[in-house]
C-alpha cells in the first residue's frame, strides 16, 4: 500500500473518530480532567491530614502519677499524652501513635526507656521517631544553662536534673509487630486497594460488553425478548453471569499474584512477606470484593445495554476503569485517622478502597464497615435500576 493511501485511510479514520463525540470525550477530555479533579480533591485532604499529623501525636506513657518526663512531654506542642499502665496495649488498640515505657526508680542505673512503634502504620513509625528525638533531647539537655531562659525552659531544666541526676538512661526502639509482619501490613494497606479495584473492574469488563451490546450486535436480543422469560429474569441471569465472572477474575488475578510472589519473593521489595489479614477482616474483605464485583458488573451491564455495539460499550467502560484505578491509588495517600476519613466514606469507590485499606490494617470500625457496605448495596441497586430502565426502553433496545 503506498503512503498516500495509508494517509488517506488514516485521515478518513481520524475524521470518523472526530465525529464521535462520546469517544472524543472519553479519549481526550476525560483523562484531561480526571487527574486534576482527583488531585484537587485529595490535595486539601492531604494537607489537612498532614497538619493533623504534625499537630497531634498521641504518646502512651506508663506513668499514671506525676512524672518529670510526662511533664516535659506535656510542655511540647503537637503532643497528646495518654498516661496508662499499659502503653503498648493502647498502641495496639490504635488509641496512641507510639508507646513509651519508662523504667521505675527501682530498676536502678542504666535503665532502658522503650519506645514502641506500630510498624504497620506510617504515622506511628514517624511518631516513635519524633518521641525518640524529644526524649533524647530531654536526657541530653545542657545543665549549665544561661541566664535568659524562659519559664518553660527552666521547668525543663529542673525536670532534667530530677530524672537524670543519678541514672543513665538508654533508649530502645521496639516495634509492635515483627519487622516482616509490620512491613507486610503496610505493603498490603498500600497495594490491596489498588489491586482489588483494578482486578475487579477489569475482570467484569471482559464479559459485560457482550451481554448487552453483544446481543444487539449479533441480533440475538429480539429472539431473546420474544421468550417467556421476563426482562427482569433475563437481566438477573446476565447480572449473575457477570458477577461470577468478576469473582473468577479476581481469584485468577490473585492466584497470578501469588505465583509471581513465589517465583520472586522480593516481589514487594519488603523482604519476607506475610499475608496478615485473617479471621473476620479477611471475611469482610471477601464480602467487599464480592460487592465490588457486583457494583462493576451492574454498572457495566447498564452501559452495555445502553451501547449500540460492543465497541461503544468498551469505550464507555474506560472512564469506569480509570476512575476505579484512580480511587484505588488515591487512598494510599489518606490516613484512616485523618479527619477527612469521614468524608471519604461517602465518595463512591473511594469509600470502598478506603475500607479495604482499613481492613488490611485491621483498623476498620464497625461504623465504617456498615456505612461502606450500605453504600455498596445502594450503588448496585442504582446500576441495576438503570439496567432495568434501559432494558425496558424501546429506544435503547432498538438502538443499533
Amino acid at each position: 500500500m503506498n503512503k498516500p493511501a495509508v494517509l488517506r485511510i488514516a485521515f478518513k479514520e481520524l475524521k470518523d473518530i472526530s465525529r464521535d463525540r462520546r469517544s472524543l470525550f472519553i479519549s481526550l477530555v476525560f483523562p484531561l480532567i480526571l487527574f486534576p479533579l482527583i488531585f484537587g480533591a485529595f490535595e486539601s485532604s492531604l494537607l489537612s491530614s498532614k497538619k493533623e499529623g504534625e499537630k497531634n501525636i498521641r504518646i502512651a506513657l506508663n506513668f499514671t502519677e506525676k512524672n518529670p518526663l510526662a511533664d516535659f512531654l506535656l510542655l511540647q506542642e503537637k503532643i497528646t499524652l495518654i498516661q496508662t499502665s499499659t502503653p503498648v496495649y493502647s498502641l495496639s488498640k490504635k488509641e496512641a501513635d507510639t508507646a513509651v515505657v519508662i523504667p521505675s526508680a527501682a530498676d536502678g542505673k542504666n535503665s532502658i526507656i522503650e519506645i514502641t512503634a506500630d510498624n504497620s502504620r506510617q504515622k506511628s513509625v514517624s511518631a516513635a521517631a519524633f518521641a525518640e528525638e524529644l526524649i533524647a533531647a530531654y536526657l541530653n539537655m545542657d545543665k549549665s544553662g544561661t541566664k535568659n531562659i524562659t519559664p518553660a525552659e527552666q521547668t525543663q531544666r529542673d525536670l532534667t536534673e530530677s530524672i537524670n541526676s543519678e541514672t543513665a538512661f538508654l533508649i530502645k526502639r521496639n516495634t509492635l509487630f515483627p519487622p516482616e509482619v509490620g512491613n507486610s501490613m503496610l505493603t498490603l494497606s498500600l497495594i490491596l486497594p489498588l489491586l482489588l479495584m483494578t482486578f475487579t473492574s477489569v475482570s467484569t469488563t471482559a464479559v459485560a460488553a457482550d451481554l448487552g451490546a453483544g446481543e444487539k450486535e449479533r441480533q440475538t436480543l429480539e429472539p431473546l425478548l420474544a421468550n417467556p422469560a421476563s426482562r427482569i429474569q433475563i437481566l438477573a441471569g446476565k447480572f449473575l453471569a457477570v458477577t461470577l465472572m468478576g469473582i473468577a477474575g479476581v481469584i485468577s488475578f490473585t492466584a497470578g499474584f501469588i505465583i509471581a510472589y513465589r517465583i520472586n519473593p522480593d516481589f514487594f521489595g519488603t523482604g519476607e512477606f506475610v499475608f496478615t489479614i485473617t479471621g473476620l477482616p479477611l471475611a469482610l474483605l471477601c464480602i467487599q470484593a464480592l460487592l465490588l464485583s457486583m457494583i462493576f458488573g451492574s454498572a457495566e451491564l447498564a452501559l452495555s445495554i445502553f451501547a449500540r455495539s460492543v465497541k461503544e460499550a468498551q469505550i464507555m467502560f474506560i472512564p469506569l476503569l480509570m476512575a476505579s484505578m484512580a480511587c484505588g491509588y488515591s487512598v494510599t495517600m489518606i490516613s484512616p485517622q485523618s479527619s477527612a476519613a469521614a468524608l471519604f466514606r461517602h465518595i463512591p469507590l473511594v469509600n470502598i478502597a478506603f475500607l479495604v485499606k482499613e481492613l488490611a490494617l485491621d483498623t476498620a470500625s464497625d461504623a465504617a464497615i456498615i456505612i461502606t457496605f450500605i453504600w455498596s448495596i445502594i450503588y448496585i441497586a442504582i446500576f441495576l435500576a438503570a439496567s432495568i430502565a434501559y432494558f425496558s426502553s424501546e429506544k435503547v433496545i432498538l438502538r443499533s
Binding site: R218, E222, P223, L225
Partner: protein, 256 residues
Amino acid sequence: MLSLTSLSKKFPGQIKPAVENITFKVKQGEAAVLLGENGAGKTTLLRIISTMLKPDSGTCNIMGYDSQKESGKVRENIGMLLGGETGLYDRLTARENIEYFADLHGIPRSMQKKNIAELAFLLGMEDYLDKRCGTFSRGMKQKTSFARSLIHNPPVILLDEPTTGLDVSSSKTVRDFIRSCRDDGRTILFSSHNIDEVKKLADRIIIIHSGIIQENSTLEELIRKFGKDLESAFLKITGAPAENGLSENISPRNNK
C-alpha cells in the same frame, strides 16, 4: 388465532406513525403475509405482536391472551423468527442454541431431545447440529433459527422475511416447512416483499404501505380487483412506479 384491533404506534421524533389503525385477524391454520416495501411498518407490527414494543393504542390478542396485559402468556404461544441477520450465538453449537431457548420455554430435557431430533430431520440440519454456529452458511443459520423458534411447538408463528438471502434449496426447505406448519393447524403471519414467496405461501395477503393497511384479501380477490397479477395489484395499491414507469425526474431524457 391472532387478532389486532386499531393498533397504532408512533416512535418519538417521527412525524408519521410507524403503523396506524391496524386491524386484521389470522385464523388457526391460516398463513397470512404482510406484504409491503421496506419501511412500510411490517417489522414494527411483528415486534408489537411479539410484545417487544408497546402500541400507543389498540389491542393485540393471541390465542385469547392480550399482548399488553398477559405478555408472558403471549410469548409462550408464539414462535418468532427475524429475517435479515439471523441472530445466533456463534460460540454455541446449533443444538446448544436451540436448547437454550427450549430451557427458557421450560421444556423438559427429554422432550427437548425429541423435538430437536424431529426439527433437525424436517429442516435437514442433522449433519451440523453439533457444530458451532460461527462457521455456518446463511442457510444453515436460518434453519437453526427456525428450529430455535419452533422448539416449544408454538400455535402462532411470526416470521420476518424468512427466506431473505437464502439460496434456492434453502428457500424451498424453509417454504416447505412453513407450509407443513400451516397444515398442522398453526397460525402463521409472515412479512415479505418477495412476490413469488407470497404467491406460494399465503392464504391471505395484507398489503401495508406507510404504516396503513391498504388491502386484506386472498390472492384471487386481489387479482380480480386490481389487475392481472399480484405484482401489478401491489404496485397499483401502493402507488409505486411500475418497472418501466420511471419518474420523469429521473428519466434519462432529462439528463440530455
